[in-house]
């Protein structure tokens, strides 16, 4: 009895310690649990895959900062790898706010070494940051070179072969917005509703639940939700024989699995303790 009372009053630092151990061990000793693909992820993957050979580009937007990097950076890397391997041109856009550009740079640094044949300006362009948020989205509907003028490295966009072929949403097959905040909705309002460009979304697990209505109405082509979404996309590109790098999201899923099991265990234990002590008092 006293055991259950102690359980109810347990110092939360013990819980923190066990969570820490449960997360670290699978990261050091990965198990490699299988990751099953869900329809929202497959839908996005298939849409991107079908752009191969059409001449249309993918615009990948890194609308996240370092806090959501563990969930969203693997998504960015997996999508870039998919596009680079299938020779789908890519506009990498560093996000609607200045703090996000570093994330796009990190994604490129992680993926480019596996694709040494890529030509900058022809296979991909890295757009930097321009203030304006919704104005930028609207501006790109008219002309990307008109909105940005130069790329992140200072090259005039007019001089880059890819931009000569694309330059606005007409030749962009999909805009994939990776974000932990509400910017996917901004892209739907100003991109999809105004110009008809299709939108895909990669978001944190917390935010994923609120985007299901937009997925169901077709405003989003597909969705990667949280670390699992990133892991699913990694598995899809792995199955397609594309170089995957370190599979960070898949490795992270082992840790997430064990943490979830631990959470369920302590919730059940807490409820047992609660019910027993409640009965006692009655």
């Amino acid at each position: 009895m006293r055991f259950f009372e102690k359980i109810l009053k347990i110092d939360r630092r013990w819980i923190f310690l066990i969570v820490g151990i449960v997360v670290i061990i699978p990261l050091i000793f990965p198990i490699g649990m299988p990751v099953l693909t869900t329809p929202p992820v497959r839908s996005l993957y298939n849409y991107v895959d079908k752009l191969q050979g059409t001449g249309k580009a993918v615009m990948l937007v890194t609308d996240f900062d370092p806090s959501t990097m563990p969930e969203l950076l693997p998504m960015a890397c997996a999508i870039l790898r998919h596009c680079f391997a299938k020779k789908i041109p890519v506009y990498l856009y560093g996000g609607l706010y200045s703090a996000y550009v570093g994330m796009a740079e990190m994604a490129l640094e992680k993926t480019l070494p596996d694709f040494p044949d890529l030509q900058y300006g022809k296979d991909y362009i890295f757009l930097g940051y321009v203030p304006g948020v919704s104005l930028v989205i609207l501006g790109m509907g008219g002309s990307i070179s008109g909105t940005f003028n130069t790329d992140y490295y200072g090259n005039k966009l007019d001089t880059l072969p890819l931009n000569k072929m694309v330059d606005n949403y007409k030749n962009i097959g999909i805009v994939i917005d990776l974000s932990g905040s509400a910017s996917p909705e901004t892209w739907v309002i100003y991109g999809y509703q105004r110009f008809g460009v299709r939108i895909g979304v990669g978001t944190t697990a917390v935010s994923a639940a609120q985007y299901y209505p937009m997925l169901q109405t077709g405003q989003f082509v597909g969705m990667l939700g949280g670390l699992k979404g990133a892991a699913e996309y990694e598995q899809l590109i792995k199955k397609a024989g594309i170089p995957t790098g370190r599979l960070e999201a898949t490795i992270g899923m082992d840790a997430q699995s064990f943490v979830h099991i631990f959470l369920i265990f302590i919730i059940i234990l807490g409820n047992i303790a609660f019910l027993i002590t409640k009965k006692r008092k009655v």
Partner: protein
């Protein structure tokens, strides 16, 4: 010769062009009947501007499309278009029959959003009607637990001789949740002034900081305690999400407020704030319309004001007839919408009538 005729591509038929409706001009929509041919790769679109001598190639679309929007054109200038099919082997068809001359021009009203326009004014009418009606009679509002316990929460802080912490969220003034948070801040500040309880308000956004300073100052003045207002207690902390969370957590741990009010727009930092406050033993009332954060507040706080209850707060706390009337207008509008949803679902599922869907459509 016959074989050549048999296997050559056909041009698209029925090519027609029209001004794109509901836009600011400069765009023409082109439609055509698809060419059903496995050899087809796509279509090349040619344009003839008024005053030009010959057609120029304008763009190319893959075979899956049979519509195209020509953009960046001059208003009130005649254009004609013609299209030819492009084969996968690089061969071309003849050109289609050119379209009739068509001009593009800007519209003055988005007719496809007429339903939205009327809905706003219908809602406005309902709002004004109930606002006037509320002056004459008492209108019922159900209990909102979080708001009922605000006074108790302030009293607790006074009894314990500890400050109160009010966090107005991490969004800007353009966010309605932030405005709602400022609406609640005033009566809370007034109570704090009356009870002589220190009130700490760390702000995320510079504009919100300025407004909240004025709101708190006025609240203290209205309570008859302008001398008790300390500007350094209502301050700008920083505008970085997790740095703000770290700063507020630090205030909670150092100042140990007896009451934490987390009201406004929150994102991922919500649980960091709520759980830290819980650890310090404060009574916590949270309120947000951020659906994704509600579970965290429900788990970590004593009372949670959910979604639209946040917008009802100013009416609930002040009981001002005009504000209560606006709540009733909101309720009636919601019931009207519910009615449309039910009727629309029955018509669609039972009779395949999409009339309600078309009524609310704006595309």
């Amino acid at each position: 010769m016959f074989m050549i005729i048999m296997f050559s591509l056909y041009p698209p038929f029925n090519v027609r062009a029209s001004d794109k409706p509901n836009d600011g001009g400069g765009s023409i929509l082109i439609k055509w009947d698809k060419v059903e041919d496995t050899l087809l790769a796509g279509y090349e679109i040619f344009i003839l501007e008024e005053g030009m001598e010959d057609y120029e190639q304008y763009d190319y679309v893959p075979a899956i499309y049979n519509t195209y929007e020509a953009e960046g054109l001059k208003n009130n200038v005649n254009y004609r278009f013609k299209i030819r099919s492009l084969g996968k082997d690089g061969s071309y068809s003849d050109f289609s029959v050119p379209t009739e001359p068509v001009k593009c021009y800007p519209q003055f009203f988005k007719l496809n959003k007429l339903n939205t326009f009327f809905a706003i004014f219908i809602y406005l009418f309902i709002l004004v009607y109930f606002t006037k009606k509320a002056r004459g009679e008492h209108l019922f509002i159900r209990r909102i637990a979080g708001l009922d316990h605000l006074e108790e929460a302030v009293g607790r802080a006074t009894e314990m001789g500890k400050p109160m912490l009010y966090v107005p969220g991490i969004s800007t003034l353009s966010d309605i949740a932030t405005l709602a948070a400022l609406n609640i801040l005033k009566p809370v500040a007034k109570k704090a002034a009356e009870y002589d309880t220190p009130l700490i308000v760390p702000n995320y956004d510079p504009m919100v900081n300025i407004v909240s300073q004025e709101v708190v100052k006025e609240a203290y003045t209205e309570a008859g305690r302008p001398d008790a207002f300390k500007r350094e207690n209502v301050f700008f902390l920083c505008d970085s999400q997790f740095a703000y969370a770290a700063g507020v957590d630090g205030i909670m741990v150092r100042e140990k407020p007896a009451t934490n009010l987390l009201i406004g727009m929150f994102y991922a930092e919500s649980l960091l704030l709520a759980e830290t406050g819980n650890m310090t033993g404060a009574i916590q009332i949270a309120g947000t319309d951020a659906v994704a954060q509600l579970p965290f507040f429900v788990a970590a706080c004593d009372y949670t004001i959910m979604g639209e209850e946040l917008y009802a707060a100013s009416a609930y706390l002040s009981r001002e007839p005009k504000l209560v009337g606006s709540l009733k207008a909101q309720d009636l509008s919601k019931m009207i919408l519910m009615g449309f949803i039910i009727i629309g679902s029955i018509l669609m599922l039972g009779f395949n009538w999409d009339i309600i869907i078309k009524l609310f459509g704006t595309v």
